[in-house]
Symmetry: C2
Subunit: 248 residues, 2 copies
């Protein structure tokens, strides 16, 4: 019954019947929302099994997966404790998608924009050096989907926009940048949820997306970098204003 997580949909292949997935997601969301506070213990295994109606085996699997993502740690006698948030693996695709179900943390939203500004222009520059014709076709497909999307259908707009940016990350032929695709995708998803002016920005930057594609196609690394930077600057201006300012 859970809504599919967009950040996962393009990234992971999941077994549909995976019994502890629902428990895992719900516990993850509660931890990220602060419902289970840092350094405190989760309810006992028996309590959680009763609440979710699952076996102890399924519950143990779920808590092991939470531990694998740095959210909890098991301690003899003390039970399962929520770790300090600095130890959470916040770049894990699941953790990112759970975060999107909670109220956005302005500091994290600002951090994602800054990370996009550092990473995506560099990826566009590399894509201009290395993209194959197949890579170009995938970037173009994202661009055409953006143009074709109904502006009132935010989900379709977000999906096309994510596809465009992820295909450029992949066209950089840098496995680290490709591995950051779910991070960038989540940042974009967030921007569609956060600003009311997103559809205006989306329409205004359509041509700018095409310009990035053209620079990559013509193997102009510096131009690709500059155009991608300009694009993210425009798209994130409202977000930056809407969230925390730089400290003095």
């Amino acid at each position: 019954m859970t809504r599919p997580d967009p950040a996962i949909a393009y990234q992971r292949d999941r077994s549909p019947g995976f019994v502890s997935q629902r428990v895992l997601s719900e516990l993850g969301r509660r931890i990220l929302a602060g419902q289970y506070a840092q350094h405190s213990a989760l309810p006992t295994e028996l309590q959680l099994c009763a609440e979710f109606g699952v076996s102890r085996t399924a519950m143990r699997e779920a808590t092991k997966m939470l531990a694998a993502k740095g959210l909890v740690v098991s301690r003899k006698r003390a039970g399962t404790l929520v770790q300090d948030s600095s130890l959470w693996n916040r770049l894990d695709p699941d953790v990112l998608s759970w975060m999107s179900a909670t109220d956005p943390d302005p500091e994290f939203v600002r951090g994602l924009i800054e990370a996009r500004l550092a990473i995506e222009p560099a990826a566009a520059e590399l894509a201009a050096r290395r993209a194959s014709a197949g890579d170009l076709a995938r970037i173009e497909a994202g661009y055409l989907a953006m143009r074709a999307a109904d502006l009132s259908d935010l989900a379709a707009c977000a999906e096309a926009d994510v596809a465009f940016h992820v295909s450029i990350l992949n066209a950089s032929h840098n496995p680290v940048f490709a591995g950051l695709a779910s991070l960038i995708g989540q940042a974009l998803e967030n921007s569609f949820r956060l600003t009311t002016s997103v559809s205006r920005n989306y329409a205004e930057t359509l041509d700018a997306h095409g310009d990035v594609l053209e620079a990559i196609r013509l193997r102009k690394p510096d131009q690709a970098r500059a155009r991608m930077r300009a694009l993210i600057d425009i798209a994130s201006a409202d977000l930056v204003n809407a969230t925390a300012k730089h400290r003095p």
Copy 2:
């Protein structure tokens, strides 16, 4: 009996007696080394239990944690399959540390350098805007440890160098950059393992590290960015030459 993983040591708090940790690490290393090939099944649970001398519960916990990191997926009848490497969460701190135990993949090493060049100058710029005096003290501690380290003690040099760069990522007050600390740490660890000329570079760039610290202290964002970029350029020149060239 396993050697502590440096990438984890500064990042995670682990229960020492964690029973499936040894199994998890060994299976992870085998998958990353290609010993269990992509799209193929792991040995059966019974075979693995016999080999490692652990219970089925411990083995299931280990495979769930591998699944949580995107390395495997459980399929009815087909068993536990190794996922396509594009689905591995290669930015997970554990996955990064397992990768360091295998032969370095030149494409990934090059990718890490490119990622450092995108991320660390941006983080240094933000640190110049936002670093507290406490942040400066931590960066300085890393710098002084670098100066104090015996050049013949590569582990001590690597630890101090990692501490310096991680403290700057944290001083950016950007949670995404801070979350990339284990990635950057792993890239540095790799560079110490890969180049024979690392101690020469290390000695040559000591003053340059101090210059980055000074620019951050004096709140000069552009200078901090440029100096960090120059530093990584020098430190990675040998690595870039030692690995794959850019494609035409």
